[in-house]
């Protein structure tokens, strides 16, 4: 213990930790000289998107290592690679001497996921047993697993109220997260613990308890990798922080010598800001136009406010993915009692495979499905009108393959064109876009941005959620959301990557 205490002094004051770390440790502790986790020039692509473009980093035993970055920075992909769920295209990953993961991932590496890794129909102890089977005796495993679960929960979260025999789907989100974190830590060979947004659903005292435990793990020479959007927490618990952007590490900082502001700047990076089209924003921000939607919200400080969109306006919902943007769209689409919304709505989903296309129908039928009721006469379809509409949109958007092609035969970009055209072909006056351009090629995107603007000029209201910040500059106004609340509102040319990023991390005063 003693030697490591000695090097932490200079380590916290010096900017270039890696050097200090290797130097000091080589004098004192030969066993820990090698970094526990070594990532070298790792590249990973999913189809057309390059998720990681040459990541290099080291994590040492006995340190808490923070990873921050905005949407699409590659954090999740990096964690999947480190936990051994995904292989790499090129480069190398070495963790504790192992260079490739076994069937259960890298030995000694455990990850607490943000969601989705507990079986809801199983009890807490059964979930623990499922994931930590190697370290629980097979005979009388019910008792053994229950005791392990209860002991670890007590150790990390002393005031929890979870019984090992509770069924997971009857637990609150916070309780589930506690189980998930405990599950990940129950491994006798644990050397690296990855925590992915562990505190997103935990309450204040549970957060403190978790970080106390993280510090305890650090002092027993474990490595902890912490991914979080909560910069304050990152800075308070981590030794080093890396900032990721566009699939690469842009900078490494000693947590003691950086501020939240420094991290914002590093995340924003050098972005080329295109000027948004001036004409539409001028016309649309004119508040003399009738209001077409109104959604009551709260600001991060808890004050009441609302999202307002005028007729002919393009409204953006920005911020870190999953901070409540889709909930706003959902409230509008379901016409919740508290929202004011125009008569006819159309919705463009983001996940084409799951909720977008009708796979066995052709382009024409996929395109007209939303407009169908208004095209019919007394409930009978009018095929000639439908065909005219299809021809118009296929020509306008240059959908390759034409109207009679099978929808599944089209490229992703062209499929997305059909789905967008479907909404605009209807007579809806408000169009809800749910991050529709993920994984769409640049050409298609530019065409669709133009379409959105021209349709808005014709008097339609567009509410557009996007996880890609640069897309938001095509909006007249953008609301940045944080934890289901509004962190800020940006107008016209103010809608930039930097502004969105800094607003994304706004936290309530006093927390």
């Amino acid at each position: 213990m003693c030697p490591r205490q000695r090097w932490r002094g200079p380590f916290l004051q010096n900017g270039d930790i890696a050097v200090v770390l290797t130097k000091t440790i080589s004098k004192t502790n030969t066993a820990a000289r090698e970094p526990l986790v070594q990532v070298r020039r790792v590249v990973k692509t999913y189809g057309p998107t390059k998720a990681l473009s040459g990541v290099t980093l080291d994590v040492h035993a006995g340190e808490v290592f923070g990873v921050v970055g905005h949407n699409g920075a590659g954090k999740s992909t990096l964690m999947r690679v480190l936990s051994g769920l995904d292989g790499v295209d090129s480069g190398s990953v070495q963790i504790g001497g192992a260079t490739r993961p076994s069937g259960r991932g890298f030995p000694g590496v455990r990850m607490a996921y943000q969601e989705g890794s507990l079986a809801q129909e199983l009890t807490v102890y059964e979930n623990i047993y499922l994931s930590s089977k190697n370290w629980i005796a097979d005979r009388r495993w019910h008792g053994a697993a229950s005791r392990r679960a209860a002991a670890r929960l007590d150790e990390i979260f002393p005031d929890h109220a979870i019984k090992p025999a509770d069924y997971v789907d009857d637990l609150t989100l916070a309780d589930r997260q506690m189980v998930e974190i405990s599950r990940a830590t129950i491994a006798d060979d644990l050397s690296v613990l990855i925590l992915d947004e562990p505190t997103e659903s935990l309450s204040g005292s549970a957060v403190d308890h978790l970080y106390d435990y993280v510090r305890k793990l650090r002092s027993s020479n474990h490595a902890i990798i912490l991914v979080s959007h909560r910069l304050k927490e990152i800075l308070s618990v981590c030794d080093r922080v890396v900032v990721m952007k566009d699939g690469a590490v842009v900078s490494t900082h000693a947590a003691a010598s950086v501020t939240e502001q420094d991290l914002f700047l590093a995340m924003g990076g050098e972005v080329v800001i295109e000027k948004p089209v001036q004409g539409t924003s001028q016309a649309a921000t004119d508040s003399a136009r009738p209001i077409s939607i109104k959604v009551p919200m709260a600001t991060v400080d808890g004050a009441a406010t609302q999202i307002v969109a005028h007729k002919g306006e393009v409204i953006g919902l920005a911020g870190i993915a999953g901070q409540g943007q889709e909930k706003v769209l959902d409230r509008l689409w379901r016409r919740n009692g508290d929202v004011q919304v125009s008569a006819a709505l159309a919705y463009v989903p983001g996940d084409r495979q799951r909720s977008g296309i009708l796979p066995i129908w052709d382009v024409a039928r996929n395109l007209t499905i939303t407009a169908l009721p208004s095209l019919g006469k007394n409930g009978i379809r009018q095929v000639d009108k439908e065909n005219a509409l299809v021809t118009k949109w296929v020509d306008q958007l240059k959908i390759r393959g034409g109207s009679s092609a099978a929808i599944t035969g089209l490229s992703g970009g062209n499929q997305q064109k059909v789905i967008v055209a479907r909404a605009f072909a209807s007579d809806a006056d408000t169009i809800l876009l749910d991050d529709p351009f993920r994984g769409v090629d640049v050409h298609t995107k530019v065409e669709l941005y133009q379409l959105i603007k021209s349709e808005a000029r014709k008097g339609r209201t567009i509410v557009w959620y996007s996880s890609e910040n640069s897309e938001m500059q095509h909006c007249d106004r953008a609301y940045v959301l944080r934890a289901d609340r509004i962190a800020g509102e940006l107008h016209g040319t103010d809608i930039t990557d930097e502004r969105i990023i800094s607003l994304s991390f706004v936290e309530a005063r006093g927390s």
Binding site: R104, L118, A119, L122, E126, N127, Y129, A165, D166
Partner: protein, 324 residues
């Protein structure tokens, strides 16, 4: 005051979510007892070892087939071929197993293996289980007709001996068989690591995958278990009808689903309710007896069953809405 305090305490000690899972099966058990009491009131002679054996022996095969369906539904799949599978097994038992036991045992083992392969097909080719098992049901039918084109054959002697077995303490033999089969299924699905994997496959395959389990192997083992229980159901059915007939019980396919639902199972998977399913199967079986005693046409039975299942599902939905 006192009673609410006790209730509060009771609630506090009970693991969260347990009541919601046990209650449906418990209610079915009450329904079963009530039907039994009504039957007994109308015909007191059923209160004897012989009487109970008589009304329960047709239910044994249904109960075991329901266990098979329960395992299938616990991994989130539905078996639309179990009726013809059980029928096919009776033809094998009544011919091959009687005449050339070694060949018979091999044929039965082959049937279980075929089920496991069906599971691999469902997992690897992502064929919906409904389609795969419906397709397989025609294979079972064809095989059964091939083995025994017309109903006939004869149960092996040891099976006849079982059919006339009278356990001590005037316990009805069918009850012993059903309880043993249910206890085994309960043990495998609830007390073993394999059962945890089955249920996690039905509840959240991602969790199973992240824990290092193989989806293919787990699904194959689950289907193999279903096949094994199907074979047991076929053997007990042969004992009941005394021979083989592939067309003996095509209705089992949907009745078993009804039994699992009555017992507290879910179409979405993840729940294994062996004891509830037993109560469900016996309740559905006793309905026939009740309708006969009421001198109503047994042709009404499917309709009555249907109403009960719809009623149970609707009632459960209402209860869930109220408790959440």
């Amino acid at each position: 005051m006192v009673s609410t305090a006790i209730l509060e305490k009771f609630r506090f000690n009970l693991p969260k979510g347990l009541a919601r899972r046990v209650l449906p099966g418990f209610l079915t058990l009450i329904a079963m007892v009530m039907i039994l009491l009504i039957c007994g009131a109308m015909q007191p002679r059923i209160w004897s070892q012989n009487g109970l054996t008589l009304i329960m022996s047709p239910i044994v095969a249904l109960a075991i087939a329901s266990m098979a369906q329960m395992v299938m539904m616990s991994i989130g799949d539905i078996d639309l071929g179990i009726g013809f599978f059980v029928g096919m097994i009776t033809t094998i038992v009544a011919t091959l197993l009687r005449e050339t036991p070694i060949l018979g045992v091999l044929a039965l083992a082959g049937s279980v293996l075929a089920y496991a392969l069906l599971g691999a097909l469902v997992q690897l080719r992502s064929v919906p289980s409904l389609i795969a098992t419906l397709g397989a049901s025609f294979v079972w039918l064809g095989m059964g007709l091939f083995v025994l084109p017309v109903p006939g054959g004869s149960a092996p002697d040891w099976l006849f001996a079982y059919a006339f077995w009278q356990p001590p303490l005037s316990i009805p033999a069918p009850l012993v068989t059903m309880v043993v089969a249910t206890a085994l299924t309960w043990f495998v699905t609830r007390r073993t690591a394999l059962g945890v994997r089955f249920r996690s496959l039905g509840s959240n395959p991602v969790a199973l995958m992240r824990s290092g389990g193989s989806l293919v192997v787990t699904r194959m083992l689950a289907y193999g278990t279903v096949g094994l229980l199907g074979v047991l159901a076929g053997i007990t059915l042969t004992a009941e009808i005394g021979g083989g007939d592939v067309n003996a019980v095509p209705g089992y396919t949907l009745t078993t689903v009804a039994a699992v639902i009555l017992g507290g199972g879910m179409f979405t998977g993840g729940r294994a309710v062996a004891w509830g399913t037993l109560a469900g199967a016996v309740t559905l079986g006793l309905l026939t007896v009740l309708l006969t005693l009421l001198s109503l046409s047994s042709n009404l039975q499917p309709a009555v069953q249907g109403f009960i299942v719809i009623g149970v599902l609707a009632g459960r939905l209402v209860v869930e809405r109220m408790t959440r």
